[in-house]
């Protein structure tokens, strides 16, 4: 069972919820931090990270002696990462997505692929929770290869909590791909609702069953619950706004340390989303 935690808007509590779910689980669980541009689940989970591996993207390397300057590489590249000049080709490896198209179309075999390091993946344990996170190197632009590496390191047999990056673009898609069910976390603000609708549209297109958790709730009836009622979306949990939670957060303590009474609630959410995932499969 793979549960992806997404949001649309940043800073709504994805990591807070993902950590709480991992800590509340009653079966063996792993936590994957796919928010590789700013992985911060480790601050709350405090894992003992023992393994580390680099992540590479294959980028083109041009042999000028073989290049005829025909321009086939430049025409196939959708990212302007390789261009053809008189008699040779110039590579901008920081723009390359590593698709390999240029080396396939090169008629003279002038293009080989070389590894370009863009980040790393670390693994270990936080108590009983298996923990893996990815980290994109500062100055590199492409996080999906690092995210895919995080997911490749995962144990396919464990209950898996995927902490996704915010937004609905490639990093989010790379993170949520293959999930059995999704939980979208948002806050009851105009911005939280607006970006939730984007995330809902995205997850619906992917055909992944999902529910919503509302964080920092002042009133049980709010703009997000109204929207979810209209759309027939399950509101799985509403987390009340509490100063004690913010204080715990600022010290790197988990939500369940500040509000242990929520633990059974998160266990219920795990059961509920498991049913949603299985219902979808049938």
């Amino acid at each position: 069972m793979k549960i992806a935690i997404g949001s649309g808007k940043g800073g709504t509590g994805k990591t807070t919820v993902a950590v709480a779910l991992a800590l509340a689980a009653t079966e063996p669980v792993q936590y994957l931090d796919c928010d590789v541009e700013e992985p911060n689940g480790h601050i709350f989970m405090k894992p003992d990270l023992k393994e580390r591996m680099s992540v590479y993207v294959p980028v083109p390397c041009v042999d000028s002696a073989l290049c005829t300057g025909c321009g086939a590489c430049s025409r196939i590249c959708q990212f302007n990462a390789i261009i053809s000049l008189a008699g040779t080709a110039m590579v901008f490896r920081e723009l390359c997505h590593g698709c390999g198209g240029c080396s396939l179309v090169c008629p003279t075999g002038a293009i080989s692929e070389v590894d370009y390091e863009i980040g790393f993946v670390e693994s270990g344990h936080a108590g009983a929770v298996a923990f893996t996170q990815g980290c994109l190197t500062v100055g590199r632009a492409m996080s999906p290869p690092v995210i895919r590496s995080v997911k490749q390191q995962a144990n396919q047999d464990l209950l898996t909590i995927i902490d996704c990056p915010p937004g609905t673009s490639c990093p989010f898609m790379a993170s949520i791909k293959g999930a059995d069910v999704a939980i979208l976390v948002t806050e009851p603000t105009p911005f939280g609702l607006h970006d939730l609708t984007l995330a809902v549209d995205t997850v619906c297109q992917l055909g992944i069953p999902f529910g919503v958790i509302v964080n920092r709730v002042h009133k049980p009836d709010n703009n997000v619950t109204t929207y979810c009622d209209q759309k027939g979306i399950a509101v799985l949990l509403q987390i009340p706004e509490q100063r004690s939670v913010a204080v715990a957060y600022s010290w790197g303590d988990s939500l369940l340390m500040a509000s242990p009474e929520l633990k059974p609630e998160f266990q219920r959410v795990l059961e509920q989303v498991t049913c949603m995932a299985e219902g979808e499969a049938v």
């Binding site: 430049s74 990212f79 302007n80 261009i83 000049l85 008189a86 110039m90 901008f92 723009l95």
Partner: protein, 120 residues
Amino acid sequence: MKLVITTTGQTLDAPMDRRFGRAEGFLVYDLETEVYTVIDNHQNFQAAQGAGIQAAQHVVNCGARAVITGHCGPKAFRVLSAAKVAIYNCEAATVADAIDQYKSGHLKPAQSADVEGHWV
């Protein structure tokens, strides 16, 4: 010899475009015949990345030996330099003014990029 001037319009009296990679278009001017054509750059205008690189490729492909623009970033500069295309940063109001400044020798070739990428 052909010159390329980044432009916002279709004629010599059009305002220059200060941008290179995301210029609206490129006016290709033949100094010998004084004939010009305009290359549309709208596809590049909306490129997610690599606009300067692709724009430089256009310039190289059209056979120009010099570019007059407002600003040029590091990647475009690298491509144009490798293709031995001279780059002139210019504040002229119109394309015609820029060509006049070039002809009268007022412009000096840039020795490096004068802005970071994505400077707008």
